[in-house]
């Protein structure tokens, strides 16, 4: 710092410790709870010395709610959203920034409008779309009375019903959440900072648009992609409302939602050791991703919101 302030400095560290403790306390306490047997965890106050039941509780949690399968579901969902979002928005941003065509501005504006509206504000109708993705087309079809027209032309009874349900499927868990403009916007901002000369040079050397994309733009974007992978993985893994709605089959439940069944209710045995053990296991993957990719995460978080 600027001047010597020994008293203030020591307070800084003390307050910092308190801050870290506030932030870390729920986890430390839950970790201890997850090592205790049932009698100890239901004592008030619970002993603060870790017990030896950690593996027993973890195993119980793992088998009781089919946790392995649920974590796998969460993984597939998170990976699907991450890969889908990044791919879709990267090529869309490439199209918007590097091509000049008539509908460019319209396309960009229509995507940009979705920037701040999460899936939560339109859950009911999105659910209906997920129940039958071809619903919109069916409506148009019925509206135009095309069936009548076709049967009049061919002289036969003609009925068409389009149906493709996303309920209880991995595509249902991922596709609707890919519809977000944030990544597209981020890639657009980044592409705009790429020097013009690179594209000019590539053109001079006779590189087509896709060659330019793969050979120059993609390698330049790796840091941005890494940052987005962290953020979107955490976003996807931690989704709650959407998976709650569209999965009714226990085999398709995601881990965060599955935890609900393990929380002891009023009449149950207070098996908090098992519930907290499960909660710790479920939150481990995204925490590990954030911690191991910390540098990109902080960069990505800040750039994304600019």
């Amino acid at each position: 710092m600027v001047e010597k302030t020994p008293v203030l400095d020591s307070f800084t560290y003390i307050f910092l410790m308190i801050g870290i403790l506030i932030v870390g306390f729920p986890i430390i306490y839950s970790l201890i709870a997850a090592t205790l047997p049932l009698e100890a965890v239901s004592k008030v106050p619970m002993p603060l010395v870790p017990g030896d039941q950690f593996l027993v509780n973890m195993k119980e949690a793992w088998t009781r709610s089919n946790l392995g399968h649920q974590i796998l579901n969460s993984f597939i969902m998170a990976a699907g959203i991450t890969i889908g979002k990044i791919t879709v928005s990267m090529i869309a941003a490439f199209s918007i920034v590097y091509f000049d065509y008539r509908l460019r501005v319209v396309a960009f504006a229509s995507v940009f409008c979705t920037l701040m509206l999460p899936v939560e504000v339109r859950i009911m109708p999105t659910y209906e779309v997920a129940a039958n993705v071809f619903g919109p087309m069916q409506t148009v079809w019925n509206f135009l009375h095309l069936s009548t027209a076709v049967s009049w032309i061919t002289g036969n009874e003609f009925e068409i019903s389009l149906n493709w349900s996303l309920l209880d499927s991995y595509s249902g868990l991922t596709l609707p959440l890919i519809a977000s403009a944030t990544c597209t916007f981020l890639f657009r901002q980044f592409f705009l900072t790429v020097p013009e000369e690179l594209c000019e040079a590539a053109k001079m050397d006779g590189a087509g648009p896709m060659t330019f994309f793969w050979k120059i733009l993609f390698p330049l974007s790796t840091t941005n992609i890494a940052a987005l992978i962290v953020i979107e993985f955490v976003y996807g893994y931690n989704q709650y409302l959407w998976p709650l709605l569209i999965t009714t089959n226990p085999d398709m439940t995601t881990a965060v939602i599955g935890l609900q069944d393990l929380i002891p209710q009023a009449d149950d045995l207070p098996e908090w050791n098992v519930a907290l053990g499960a909660a710790l296991m479920v939150m481990l993957p995204p925490v590990l991703v954030v911690l191991s990719m910390q540098r990109w995460f902080v960069k990505g978080l800040i750039e994304k919101e600019k």
């Binding site: 203030l8 910092l16 090529i91 396309a107 509206l117 911690l291």
Partner: protein, 296 residues
């Protein structure tokens, strides 16, 4: 904005933007339109029949005391979450920025709650604040002399979901305040120190005004977070109870739509929610960005 040097190749740009457009149309514009139409209709619970009723659904929700209460609850809740998590985030970030040693370690120990799902944060705090088993609840009972019972008392339940939601958000605010603090030129601080300003004076006269853009940005983000993402907290911890005292708007949309199967009312509520968010976003882009002080 577009590059000076661009490509012109017939169908390729359309092909590249097609996936995004298709997904946005099917999962965004179409449902939004449907929601809007649905909000003017009255349907039976099985969706077999529906008739046009104009603004009936809107009149219904705005005269419904439960809905008005839910609006009030949502506003209180989001302001509380934003205030608690931003104050703590700013405080910790200021301390971490002052610290000379172990900055990277401190950052590591503070950012991981970002990765914890709101629902899991709910579970952790449910245990800590549980009226019969929670250690924090015990402390509140003993030292503050409050008869803590979030299962029966609405205010206690509200405090509980606020703590669970704010705790998870501290690290998000910390990251942004930290970035904001590091962007402040050292020379400004040094100049003020030479002029004899104490560390506290420097914080209020230089650091704080320079952080206003971060501050406003985070207010909006925290409010949006507490409007929507806290669904997981509410669902695991209180289910909107007791007596609807934690029934925030997004939870009410879910309950009326999916549990109560009242499609018209639920759609009208969604439209109101959507308008509210558009309003906040526009306000952020238009108003806040200009009003903010950039000079010390």
């Amino acid at each position: 904005m577009i590059k000076r040097s661009t490509y012109t190749s017939g169908y390729l740009p359309y092909l590249l933007i097609l996936p995004q457009i298709v997904i946005t149309l099917t999962f965004f514009y179409w449902p939004a339109l449907q929601g809007l139409i649905q909000s003017f209709l009255l349907s039976d619970p099985f969706g077999q029949q529906s008739k046009f009723v104009g603004f009936y659904n809107y009149r219904e929700i705005f005269t419904d005391p439960l809905y008005l209460k839910s609006i009030f609850i949502t506003l209180t809740f989001s302001i509380a979450v934003a205030t608690v998590s931003m104050t703590l985030g700013l405080f910790i970030a200021t301390m971490a920025n002052r610290a000379l040693r172990a900055k990277a370690l401190v950052r590591t120990m503070l950012i991981w709650p970002y990765a914890v799902a709101p629902a899991i944060s709910g579970i952790l705090w449910l245990f800590l604040l549980h009226p019969s088993y929670g250690i924090v609840a015990l402390g509140i009972n003993k030292w503050l002399g409050i008869n803590w019972n979030p299962v029966l008392n609405g205010t206690d339940a509200m405090v509980m979901v606020t703590i669970a939601s704010a705790w998870k958000q501290i690290s998000y605010n910390f990251v942004f305040f930290m970035a904001g603090l590091q962007a402040i030129p050292k020379s400004l601080i040094e100049a003020a120190a030479i002029d004899g300003a104490s560390p506290f004076k420097r914080f209020w006269a230089i650091t704080f005004p320079l952080l206003t853009p971060t501050f406003f940005f985070l207010s909006v983000m925290n409010i949006i977070y507490s409007f929507f993402e806290t669904f997981g907290v509410i669902h695991t911890v209180t289910q909107g109870g007791p007596g609807g005292s934690t029934n925030i708007l997004v939870y009410k949309v879910y309950q009326d739509g999916f549990v109560g199967l009242n499609l018209g009312s639920s759609s009208a509520q969604s439209v109101v929610l959507m308008s509210l968010i558009i309003l906040i976003t526009v306000l952020q882009f238009r108003y806040v960005e200009k009003k903010v002080q950039y000079t010390g």
